[in-house]
Amino acid sequence: MIVPLEHILILAGLLFFLGMGGMLAWRANLIMMLVCIEVMLNAVMLVFVGGSARWGTADGQLFAIFIMALTSAEVSLALAMVVYLHRRRKTIDTDRFSEMKG
């Protein structure tokens, strides 16, 4: 381990919650929300890789790789959704999609 695990965790936590904060704040732009999700997932991967290094097992790395795969699947679907919604409403402002409420 090059640095204590705690430092990696704090870095990852910082990134994770930055991403979360961004996602909450960027309600007007769907693309940016997806970007923020990527940031969060990256942080998760960082933790896994850190853990893997800490314990010397491959599971963490594998989990990180699976997350990558999942992310690609989700992003492709999410972007298709963006295209679909934009085509319908000419906007990617999520606040505009609030027909159902209550």
Partner: protein, 628 residues
Amino acid sequence: MNIYLALILLLPLLGGLCNALLGRLLPRRVGVIVACGVIWGAFACAVLAFVGFTGPVRVELGSWLAAFSFQAPIALYLDQLSLGLTLMITFVCGLIHLYSVGYMQDDPAWARYFALLNIFVFAMLTLVLAENLPLLYLGWEGVGFCSYALIGFWYTEEKNATAGRKAFITTRIGDTAFGIAIVWMYQLSGSVSITHLNSMGALIPAAVVTTLGLLLLAGAAGKSAQLPLSVWLPDAMAGPTPVSAQIHAATMVTAGVYLLARMFPLIGSSETVRAAIALTGGITAFYAATCACCQRDLKRILAYSTISQIGYMVLGVGVGALPGATFHLLTHAFFKALLFLGAGCVITALHHQQDIFRMGGLRTKLAAVYWPFLAGALCLAGFPLTGGFFSKDAILGGVAAQGGALYGGLLLLGLFTALLTSFYTFRMVFVVFHGEQEHSLSPGPLPQIMTLTLVPLALLGLCGGLLNLPAYLGYEGVLDGFLGSIPGFGGVEQASHADEIALQIVAATLSLAGLGLAWSRYTGSRRADALAREATGPSGAGFLLNGWYLDNLYWALVINPFNHLARFLWKRWDEAGIDGTLDGLARLTARLGGLPAAWSTGRVATSLFGLASGVAIILVYLVWVTLS
């Protein structure tokens, strides 16, 4: 004996049921014969029972209420008191039934009438013959119901129906007290048998006996129209006149007296109770007599006089003169029934005119009514040597024998009442039958059966004194001897012969004085003046005419508040209060439900915030838990 007793009860019941259920299908003649036949049949049975009577018997006919220690079978108890009353009731009612045949000859609802009349007799006999209090209560309520239904017999007029309702409710107020007394006695002794209870007197604390006595007095006051529950009886005259004669003069209204006499061995041991009973009776007698002096309605005069006479009986019970009270009960039954029936004749003859100021001079035209009526009036007024004279005197003698300030006062009151009685009785007789007939309508024909039934009653009334002649005449009264063996009846304090003779002289004088007063006022030249003055309503007459405004008092104190309270509770409490609170709670819940619903704004960001805040909260909680 069993079969007689059972028949005495069953015959009227069957007759009543027969008319009630099949009345529409039977021809009138058959129905009427059945109705009268069963009563006379009952009378025959009563006579047979009398003949075979050797001593008190208890007869159990079947089970009724039986749960654990509470045992109230259908059991009858025949002793001298109940036997005497049974004889009287079946006889008088039999006559009244016959009378009714004539009275109701044009009424299409005869079946209902006779059914109720028969059932009334059944209930009254049950009351008298009951061995236990619940069964007595059955008869007690049964007569109340029949009275209710018969007062409102001509139901289409609101006045009649209301009068029936008033009678039912007022008497039931008394019944409630009676009911409480019954369950109390059950609680004290574990039994509701009258004989058993009467033998319990010594074991029950005095205070409790007093309370019980007062409760029973309240019950009797309701049924017997004593103050303060007397208001229903004058209104009850709305019913057919034979009904008034049978129920509201001869039988039912005396049930209270019977009850008090029946339970006297138990309650008589309390001085307070006796005083209260005597006071109630005395004041009621006076009160009703004053009211009777100013009435214009023939039947109302008789009604008030009934109240007054029952007051005498209650007074008699109060002073322990039970034979006297019973004596007066019997004679009163005869002459008051007679008076009512006579009044019924007059009213029928005059096409349902009841205002005495529109009568007059009927003496000749209705001679067949006049003479029996006069006989009844003499009895009522206590004219010397009539039955009423002796029986009333027996009571007053009992009062005199008590001594003391209270009873002295009551004696004076009773004597004064006797004067009033004589006055209003002859006022009635003179106004109706004497004088000119300028106002009077011409009387129509009367069925013969109506006038014929008056005769035996008149004879009985006049000769009723023979039942129980005073002791100073040298031999024991028949009735005293007959009743003497009943617990409570014996050992009545007797005034000395001299006192009794003195008292009778005073009474006779008062009676004659009243007669004279009425004579001077309502016959001859002063008649027109007096009538005119009374017709316009002299000052103070309104007070007496309206029964001392007792009705108005009840309206103001009870009925109006009751109405308002009922409405208030319904609208303000039930609907606005309870339901309003619940509806408000429901609305509040719905309003609160709007909060979580409003949280769901429909924007994605809100739901993401929800998730994120979940994370934040849970982490903060974790820190708080693990690091503290």
